[in-house]
Symmetry: D2
Subunit: 145 residues, 4 copies
Amino acid sequence: MKTTTPLIAAAMLAGLTLASPAFGEDTLYKQLGGYDSIAALTDAFLTKAGQDKMLKRFFVGHSTGSLAKIRQLIVDFICAKSGGPCIYTGRPMVEAHTGLKITNADWDESNEIFGIVLKALKVDKDLQKKVEAFVGSLKGEIVGK
Amino acid sequence: MKTTTPLIAAAMLAGLTLASPAFGEDTLYKQLGGYDSIAALTDAFLTKAGQDKMLKRFFVGHSTGSLAKIRQLIVDFICAKSGGPCIYTGRPMVEAHTGLKITNADWDESNEIFGIVLKALKVDKDLQKKVEAFVGSLKGEIVGK
Amino acid sequence: MKTTTPLIAAAMLAGLTLASPAFGEDTLYKQLGGYDSIAALTDAFLTKAGQDKMLKRFFVGHSTGSLAKIRQLIVDFICAKSGGPCIYTGRPMVEAHTGLKITNADWDESNEIFGIVLKALKVDKDLQKKVEAFVGSLKGEIVGK
Amino acid sequence: MKTTTPLIAAAMLAGLTLASPAFGEDTLYKQLGGYDSIAALTDAFLTKAGQDKMLKRFFVGHSTGSLAKIRQLIVDFICAKSGGPCIYTGRPMVEAHTGLKITNADWDESNEIFGIVLKALKVDKDLQKKVEAFVGSLKGEIVGK
């Protein structure tokens, strides 16, 4: 019997990236500066969102350990979907957001914060557009569930 | 090499109950009416708490699946600690509540709701006192973290 | 905005049971003797399976805590699917077994152990048939993945 | 009331690294080449360990999804402890290994594989020593539990 190695199994799980690079182009993961940049981006976003009048309600009911898990899952998700060597092991997007009743206004506020963070981290305009397209593609799985 | 069976391993994990019955007395689990009663009690409590002005903030940021996990962990915890055949597999109480900043006022409100629920489910006075003593013993691990 | 209470959300998650009772009949959960019987059944099964030459390979790589989680998820699953007040919060059956390469021989061995356990716990013949039909209905989601 | 932001909470959780760099020196995370190198190292190690006669027993009872979680937790652990921007959200080392009955021989085999992998990935001798010292410091929490 052939044994699938953990590595191959993991690779199969990782699946296709949401944002496949054009031929000869770097992955979005690389363009963003790799893991450290994605982690910094996520932390800056969560810090701002956790203090935002409209969005902070989503963070209040979570323990420090629960917030750490959410943070790590977001980093893993972005890393995995942008072509980095992470595996996202959380629930599918729809399931993870069902019941949260995230509104269009929440989504817009969240995107505004994200834009500010991308700018603060000096992500260039072209790349910012790609990242925003990537985030935008998730809206249907997150809002109104 | 001696193999510890999963059952024995599980039993070791379950540990001592918080509320050991006096010699010859039923466990608190049995006195409460077993698992079904504990599940009904937990569901009634969570329903009321989720609608309560002061407490609902703890539930807003959780998806339906996340709330289901919290519910099941609470049932498992009460079941295990009262002497029932459940294993609590969640994080230790202090860790699970650190960062939630649960206040004394939250705790009192929560106990008031719990009392109403015990009464509505026709738990008799003596038993209610035992349950409240059991819940009371957890305060130090939950409030002000 | 109407708020779905945690209880209702949990109930929705619990979904339909695999083994709906005929009109006027008790649920399989009740017929089995409720939670305590299901827990005893699961523990007896896991103890035997963990010592079985053919099946013990599935348990070797799990820590005590990991085995406790598996045990609790099995109890929750049987409880929920047989009509009891539990919520199964684990991964879907197929996902939970993909990669385990459980063979038909493993499945048969497992069923034989399960039959011995049902007999030892004095489950009557009629009920044993219902339980085995319930377990049998899961084979396609568990074997050969 | 002062609100601890998710970022700060996460940072507090991350705690001290096992391998603090000397003054002015890069973290072990940086010396290793950051996240991508740690992920490659972990994948190469797990692939070899999963095929190893002595060690493969630890991987047999895990689904593809379970292996992916283990892989991701190992990467997160090494990243976090070596000074990288990851948070390890798994159970403490002792708890995660209790019941596995990892022997000294397993540990030695595992270290031999790890050494081969470090060499294959062209980690230089000095750095290899540091990494092995770091891994060695974990032995007491992993073996014989």
